[in-house]
């Protein structure tokens, strides 16, 4: 760099500082930050509901909330966390920020669509808040019929409209990613050279594009039945309640993979960098991502093993569920093998990534148990299932999200976060998480059903432990909010490539200029050119990283 630092170089953050320039920005990096603000807000709303739930369950008869309020709380927790945090979390923030940077593009293919996606997301968010203030909804996030269409007394239609609109934001973002990854890769960025995070976002986007419309149709039908009495799901009107479950899970099971696939991508980037080794089995990893995306569409019936589907369908869906576990297992083995003969450093992003691998493995193995037909008969709709999917979604996806946030924080903000605090938060999050959710496996096998506002007194020990863990987890989630905010103001300035990583995003300044790269980079090599012996690496544009 020859520039003499008289003026600070213009970055995407300092380019123009007016409110209007942010609210009308077409820069994918600024839109990523806008999304970041929105989803963080909703994360704390969903977290607040979770806190009330766990506080309520400290005592067996749960004196804190009235039954109807408790039912509304877990419904809000589910709706907010699924559609307003977990599904958009990684794609709209880190995905938005990194996809163009990692493939050497100057922006996403449709910058205006990207901004529109944020506005649509917020529109649904405002409706959600309205629905909450009016009194909420008590169906559970799953909206099972005929309860939701004929018996629930909350704002079911408002909730359905909220989620319906939210889906369009998902579709817009996914479409943008698919076109961008197809059309805007820098010269030399062949598919075989794509970083695994890009592969993950690509696979995720395909699932989003294909599954979300089915959710929209399902919600529309709920509205038709509830408002106009069109008999689709309610047997009293000639409908079929199981039809709803088929349609809902046809979307909602792939939705789980929408949450976890991007997390797998993030973890692959982080593990390779902090082990200073090429990721083990790159090709296998890409096929595993695609295999998960495809098979995820064929397993929805495993939510219905006890619902009265035929024994034959139960058997088919169980088989498919075991098959989808194979590529997931392959990924765990590959991350483990990447550590072998690495040169491993335990910075905060790596702690989060290792936490992800551990918790995801736990979630995956208990997933085998609930995929086993005869065991699911006992375990389904109990706390065992609650624990299982929180290990995948919170232990897995949220850990990876925090790992990615720390890893790219210097790139996004140009500042370094305080390492000690970040490591402490990562460890606290891991411990708090396990204390919260491990007791729920035991509660589940003991037979405590989910969505119970009161439970048998002898189960109080495990519930108190779980609630204690939840309070630790709450503190661990608040810590990054504090020290990351601090680092925005006081953190040390970051160099372009503080981790000595190989991705193209590290080959531009921190934070990047508005146009990302002064010149479109020329890609000459595969990702993850790390040498564990020397710790050196070669970036994807062929330069030695420094």
């Amino acid at each position: 760099m020859t520039a003499v630092a008289i003026d600070l170089p213009a970055t995407y953050l300092t380019e123009r500082q007016t409110v209007g320039s942010w609210l009308l920005t077409r820069d994918h990096k600024r839109i990523a930050l806008l999304f970041f603000a929105s989803i963080t807000f909703f994360f704390f709303i969903g977290g607040f509901a979770a806190t009330l739930i766990r506080l309520h369950l400290v005592t067996p008869q749960g004196g804190l909330l009235q039954p109807d309020i408790y039912n509304r709380m877990f419904t809000i927790h589910g709706i907010v966390m699924v559609w307003f945090f977990l599904i958009p979390a990684i794609p709209t923030t880190l995905g938005n920020f990194l996809v163009p940077l990692m493939i050497g593009a100057h922006d996403l293919a449709f910058p205006r669509l990207n901004l529109a996606s944020w506005y649509v997301f917020n529109l649904s968010g405002v409706l959600l808040l309205y629905m909450l203030l009016m009194g909420g909804v008590d169906t559970g996030w799953t909206f099972y019929t005929p309860f939701s269409t004929a018996y629930a007394n909350g704002y079911v239609t408002a909730a359905a409209v909220t989620v319906f609109i939210n889906g369009f934001s998902t579709i817009m973002t996914a479409l943008n990613f698919v076109v961008t990854i197809h059309r805007l890769r820098a010269p030399g960025m062949y598919w075989s050279r794509l970083p695994l995070f890009i592969w993950a976002i690509y696979a995720t986007s395909l699932v989003m594009l294909l599954a979300t419309p089915v959710l929209a149709m399902t919600l529309l039908l709920i509205g038709l039945e509830r408002l106009m009495g069109v008999g689709i799901f309610d047997p009293a009107l000639g409908g079929d309640p199981l039809l709803f479950q088929h349609m809902f899970w046809f979307y909602s099971h792939p939705a789980v993979y929408i949450m976890i696939l991007p997390a797998m991508g993030l973890v692959s980037e982080i593990v390779a960098c902090f082990a200073r080794k090429p990721i083990f089995g790159y090709t296998g990893m890409t096929y595993a991502l695609l295999a998960i995306a495809v098979i995820s569409f064929l397993v929805w019936g495993h939510h219905m093993f006890t619902a009265g589907i035929s024994l034959f369908s139960g058997i088919v869906f169980s088989l498919m569920s075991f098959l989808v576990a194979v590529p997931s297992a392959i990924k765990v083995f590959n991350w483990t093998a990447t550590l072998h003969k690495g040169s491993i450093a335990f910075d905060a992003p790596m702690l989060y990534a290792l936490g992800f691998v551990g918790l995801f493995t736990m979630g995956g193995l208990t997933g085998l148990m609930v995929a086993t037909l005869a065991l699911d008969v006992h375990l389904t709709d109990t706390y065992f299932v609650i624990a299982h999917f929180h290990y995948i979604m919170v232990g897995g996806a949220v850990s990876a999200y925090f790992g990615g946030l720390h890893y790219w924080w210097p790139k996004i903000t140009g500042r370094l976060y305080p390492e000690i605090w970040a490591r402490a938060a990562a460890i606290l999050m891991f411990l708090g998480f396990n204390l919260t959710f491990f007791p729920q496996f035991i509660l589940g096998y003991l037979g405590m059903p989910r969505r119970y506002y009161a439970y048998a007194p002898e189960l109080q020990v495990w519930n108190v432990l779980s609630s204690a863990g939840a309070s630790i987890l709450a503190i661990a989630y608040l810590m990054p909010l504090v020290y990351l905010t601090w680092s925005l103001l006081r953190g040390r300035h970051a160099s372009p490539n503080p981790w000595l990583a190989t991705g193209l995003e590290w080959q531009t300044s921190s934070p990047p200029p508005k146009e990302n790269f002064a010149r479109t980079p020329n890609v000459t090599t595969e990702p993850y050119h790390y040498d564990p012996e020397t710790g050196a690496c070669i970036a994807q544009n062929g330069t030695a990283c420094a």
Binding site: P146, A371, R451, A456
Partner: protein, 322 residues
């Protein structure tokens, strides 16, 4: 929830045939998962310590044999998973496919209670008395939303979906009281929709049955309804209307006018009462009116019990061929 007798409840008792088998499978998977977890965590732990940055150990790359490992562990996991699948699927079919039952009891779920109708006409709410060591078959209906009949100590549950009949079976292996829960969210008092199964010695059970002060069996109550609602006007042997006779119907194969053949089980009889035009019997005119909205789920069950009682031989033959 189950009274486990443990200081801190950790493991629920198993008190039925299904409970024992599912429990064994669970323990097997638990051991297997713990082994896999130990392997993965062990390797991560060892690698993290041995290959921590700054530790002077050789790090030269492995040979180019990575695909051997990849194919190896892919094949191993696939084989292991298929094994679990087969074990679980076999047991699922056994759990959900009822054998010949010693006793058939009707259950109606509604917000927020379980109503029980015994064949002898005894009724109870949120309690279900059964004899130990006998195969009990439950025929379940819901009057409003989806519920789920869950007995943790039997490791058994089945959803009760409105608009249809569901069946489940169990064979208790010990006497005692065991918790029933509703495990599908059904509204405000979902958490309190439960009760208990009281498993008794056969003699005590017979005693309990006779002390319920019942005059009419379920089938006799059904017969009264059969006349009251005018079913007998067409379906009696000496009726002038050309309608299918119901004697010997239950358990037999019925040829429908659309050419299909169905087994006349509880679900079929229920559907014929509520949506008769979908099930017009071959050779008969489609004249039966629907009784949807006129009969409660418990009344339908009484009618089914009556129609079952018209073909005792067929019922037992049908059970034994399952």
């Amino acid at each position: 929830m189950a009274e486990t007798g443990q200081w801190v409840p950790f493991w629920p008792k198993t008190s039925a045939l299904s409970g024992d088998r599912v429990n064994t499978l669970f323990i097997a998977e638990l051991v297997l998962c713990a082994a896999i977890l130990a392997l993965v965590f062990g390797l991560i732990w060892v690698f993290c310590i041995r290959y921590r940055r700054g530790n002077p150990v050789p790090r030269s790359a492995l040979g180019e044999k990575s695909w051997v490992f990849e194919i190896g562990w892919t094949a191993a996991t696939l084989t292991g998973f298929l094994g679990l699948f087969v074990w679980g699927a076999g047991m699922y079919v056994w759990l959900y496919k009822p054998p010949a039952a010693d006793l058939e009891i009707f259950i109606v779920g509604k917000q927020w209670m379980w109503k029980v109708e015994h064949p002898g006409g005894q009724r109870e709410i949120d309690e279900l008395h059964v004899p130990v060591g006998k195969t009990v078959r439950l025929v379940m209906a819901s009057q409003d939303v989806i519920h789920s009949f869950f007995i943790p100590e039997f490791r058994l549950k089945h959803d009760v979906v409105p608009g249809t009949l569901e069946t489940m079976w169990f064979r208790p292996t010990e006497t005692g009281n065991f918790t029933i829960e509703c495990s599908e969210f059904c509204g405000t008092e979902h958490a309190h929709m439960g009760g208990q199964i009281v498993v008794m010695e056969p003699a005590a059970y017979t005693g309990w049955l006779t002390h319920q002060g019942v005059n009419l069996s379920l089938a006799q109550q059904g017969e009264a309804l059969f006349r009251q609602h005018g079913c007998s006007g067409c379906h009696d042997a000496n009726s002038t209307v050309h309608a299918p006779l119901l004697t010997g119907l239950y358990g037999s194969l019925v040829h429908l006018s659309d050419g299909s053949v169905v087994r006349a089980d509880e679900k079929y009889i229920r559907d014929c009462i509520l949506i008769p035009r979908t099930f017009t019997v071959a050779g008969y005119p489609p004249v039966m009116p629907s009784f949807a909205g006129q009969l409660g789920e418990d009344e339908i069950m009484k009618l089914i019990a009556y129609i079952q009682s018209l073909s005792p031989a067929a019922a037992s033959r049908e059970e034994s061929t399952r």
